[in-house]
């Protein structure tokens, strides 16, 4: 119970700020880098990092660093069970369709080169 209420406190604190609510709304639409978020909300990189840090602490956002870019996405912990399931399901299809894009591009190329030979 104590743990639960301290998590709630963290969530409420995270949501008490208009910028952070805006960031969540933005991440609901699409994943974004900290740089992109800073630009979008007219803030310094350092300022945005702090906001994202608060959201991350509350489990509302997760971040992953690939190369030099840190990408933020909505944290599954912050979603209710059904939304979390749908988001996981969407990520599976999204990964699958990225591969399908490659197969389709190959087939298109083949078709074009066959067309040229004729």
């Amino acid at each position: 119970m104590v743990q639960y209420s301290s998590r709630l406190d963290a969530s409420f604190a995270a949501l008490s700020d208009a910028t952070r609510r805006g960031v969540l709304e933005q991440l609901w639409r699409e994943d974004a880098s900290i740089t992109a978020l800073a630009e979008r909300f007219h803030m310094t990189l350092t300022g945005m990092k702090k906001h994202v840090g608060v959201l991350e602490q509350a489990g509302l956002v997760t971040t992953e660093k690939v190369g030099r870019v840190r990408t933020c996405r909505l944290g599954l912990r912050g979603l209710d069970e059904e939304w979390a399931w749908i988001e996981r399901y969407r990520r599976v299809w999204d990964e699958r369709f990225d591969e399908l894009d490659k197969v389709v591009a190959d087939l298109k190329l083949k078709e074009q080169s066959n067309g040229r030979k004729k």
Binding site: R29, E82, E95, L100, V103
Partner: protein
């Protein structure tokens, strides 16, 4: 109704929404419908994209007899010499615009329908997974509750495999 999309800048977004007893996935592909349809119906192409790499499951075998009444069967390696099979029958095959199959490994008996709509050389794909009842879909969604995150991810994958 819950809807989630990811309009990333470079690639086409994948959206998922839930209705009463369906889960609907949409995505656009930059190719004519006959090409996208081919990638769904030729085993050597299908196996190149169907299994997400992040899951680390290996596809042991794949059979696809793509005609009405024809069967399919996918067998996955779960490690420790355990396997898992997904199977069913094609109930609609209309190249290059429509494909539907049953999922007979699950007790729910879902039916998956894929439509391919071509416009200006691009294909808008809609995949609908229909459950017999709202309760059956609710149950499936609820089944990941309380599992560690990697199993939750697997659970979501299993819901899409057959």
């Amino acid at each position: 109704m819950v809807e989630r999309s990811e309009p990333a800048s470079a690639k086409n977004p994948t959206t998922v929404q839930r209705t009463d007893r369906e889960v609907i996935v949409t995505r656009t592909f930059d190719a004519p419908a006959r090409i996208v349809f081919e990638a769904w119906t030729r085993p050597e192409l299908f196996k190149r994209w169907w299994v997400p790499k992040s899951i680390g499951l290996a596809l042991l075998s794949l059979e696809q007899d793509v005609r009405v009444g024809g069967g399919y069967r996918l067998v996955f390696d779960l490690g420790d010499s355990k396997t898992m099979a997904f199977f069913g029958k094609y109930v609609e095959v209309t190249p290059p615009s429509r494909l539907a199959w049953t999922n007979e490994e699950s007790e729910d008996g879902t039916v998956t329908t894929v439509t391919f709509e071509e416009k200006d050389g691009r294909t808008h794909l809609t995949l609908t997974e229909a459950y017999p009842t709202r309760e059956a879909l609710d149950r499936n969604i609820g089944s990941a509750e309380g599992l560690p995150e990697q199993f939750e991810q697997l659970d979501a994958l299993l819901a899409t495999l057959g």
